[in-house]
Symmetry: C2
Subunit: 431 residues, 2 copies
Amino acid sequence: MSEPLRIALAGLGTVGAGVIRLIEANAALIARRAGRPLQVTVVSARDRNKDRGIDLSPYAWEDDMVIMGERADVDVVVELVGGSDGPALALARTTIEAGKGLVTANKAMIAHHGLELAQKAEAAAVPLKFEAAVAGGIPVIKGLREGAAANEFSRVYGILNGTCNYILSTMEDTGRDFAAVLAEAQAKGYAEADPAFDIEGTDAAHKLSILAAIAYGAKIDFGSVDASGIAKILAADIAQADSLGYVIRLIGMAEADGDRLFQRVQPHLVPFDHPLAHVDGATNAVVAEGNFSGRLLFQGAGAGDGPTASAVVADLIDIARGEAGAPFSVPVAELVAMAPAETGHRMGRSYIRFVVADRPGVLAEITAAMRDAGVSIESLIQKGRHEEGGDVLVAMVTHEGPESAVAEAVRLLEGSASLTRAPLVMHILSD
Amino acid sequence: MSEPLRIALAGLGTVGAGVIRLIEANAALIARRAGRPLQVTVVSARDRNKDRGIDLSPYAWEDDMVIMGERADVDVVVELVGGSDGPALALARTTIEAGKGLVTANKAMIAHHGLELAQKAEAAAVPLKFEAAVAGGIPVIKGLREGAAANEFSRVYGILNGTCNYILSTMEDTGRDFAAVLAEAQAKGYAEADPAFDIEGTDAAHKLSILAAIAYGAKIDFGSVDASGIAKILAADIAQADSLGYVIRLIGMAEADGDRLFQRVQPHLVPFDHPLAHVDGATNAVVAEGNFSGRLLFQGAGAGDGPTASAVVADLIDIARGEAGAPFSVPVAELVAMAPAETGHRMGRSYIRFVVADRPGVLAEITAAMRDAGVSIESLIQKGRHEEGGDVLVAMVTHEGPESAVAEAVRLLEGSASLTRAPLVMHILSD
């Protein structure tokens, strides 16, 4: 057996503790598969004395985590501190500059600083890996970087946020409204006390920007992800979607449009017969459509200490095997700066929902706006909503047409006294 | 850009032609991702003059494919000849002995000779890769070997034969019987003229034995796979399963039972809420249940020239990157010879279906046999079958119990004049 791969572990929250438990529990099989043992030599966290339910006595303790990579007893640093900047980024930089490898689960840091870190890692000829940053335990970065590496991708998309998927599928199962389900999810610990990061689509956008960079050989561009969340979805939307043959899922999607890059996180109507329609609860799933592979689906737990630790340790095993590769699949110098795609000319079908006052002429006003904007209506449902006074829900599905037409129709209705809420537009996931 | 990886391609059927098309179509992106171009230098097949719809003039032709690996202009041989022995095996041996890498899509050869070839490859320090041998374009060998490498697997199972899945899901959709759907599948080219290999479970067993070896670090043992097929499934079974909340799928499953290895290919009843219940048509899907990752699902096209070529070229890219690794995840010397598991004590729920003569006392005879064997019945449906004279279908689902009890109950009824067909037992996929 060769020399162990010596690991410094920064951050001892649930994932950090999970990594230690995994490396201890599966030590023998990991050593066999990796060709050498994985050995945690030193750990660090904010509070040394907190009880984490694991015995830290076998490991050295480092007070200043930022310098862990500079220690002589460390080959690779595992960064599980979190946050796009601050100590995590400082640690990442010092580690790579010290000529050590870095494994991280930090999607925010990679989304914001991945290019810089990849450049530094390439210059220092050290591995930089972040499988756990996207879709938890699902080896989807490996799937794109390696498993499907022979393909040009027409689209890469998926369910990238477990909290949102839990909320949407619970709304679906129970018929309850967003606020009630969110509150319950918070009580159960499935959603953060401050849920904005998840429910506004930011977390999914971080992950999408990483997948897009790998799939398209593009410089990571988190800032151009067009992200919206799930807070405006009503129980009635889910019921309407169901009656039309769809479920609602928050989908992150990346697509090359010529030499431009389309990146969007938005709730979509997903047809019942699409594999993503059956992804329930906190599960994540990513679809990659390759020009030779066809549609590949990777599905599993998107978060949690065990799955995330599984992905972190998979990266460590790759490093122990000497199979780390370029973080974004191609060398940094060959990553292309892709301008954000224009979206107005994108063709598709949409679901548009209005909540309107129950009085004569409202439907005529809405359908006139559709006509004037050139939006062709495939089906329309109008339904009284007892729970909100006299309000009426008008939901429609459009025929295929340009997104700009739908936006124009909504703009024409802006400020209309008939509308008691802002309209909600969701795209229908095409096959 | 580094030197190209020079490839000899043996076998120019649909997959071979697909590999050439892929390498030509995606040449630029492959070179970028692999760090060097993939260059087919020489090809070989039985018939040089057959029109394959591709231009072979850029490539040298080798009449004797077995010696391709000995050529100076070859780094890696891609074997797409097929067959567990014969020219494919001869080519594999001479290639590795000549110190060249081997990529193959040949599940039968790996199932029968994978251990020998891995030993030879390890001794010669050359790569041996076979992603395309299991589940077509789905990178599931990589998923197990690398993506989920941190985990001990409780089970690895999946839908490994697209022909069977196409037949079963078409029977489901149309209500037609096996023979009619098979005939149609043959007419459409979805099933071979001699379909035995697929419908009797042999093809799935080949693939399962490969997955099991990787997941459990075991010496590959195709001979111990307990395989049965789908030919005995009636349209009425599918209807009964549906009414009970299940679909029928041919599942290959591997599981470690202490130091023994359980490997079985058998039609299973899959609950509607299991992800495999939504895998329709020729699609394949593999589930790996890891002790930290939880349930991972890999899904995609299980066959076809494009998907298979995608997997072959992914292997070539790994080799070009210098990231080939041990074929069965651990070094050959560390692969364990695992004895086949006993199955009688396995606990589970079963579906048992009898076709019986419509006369008094038959149900009493069957239920008495169940009682005498200690099988506890959860639900039972008896249904007249007009299409077969006076025959009656009796289908039941058992409570959880040992498989040996179900086998004993069926044995007690053996030779009974009441039974007009052999009973069919299918296990219910547990969660």
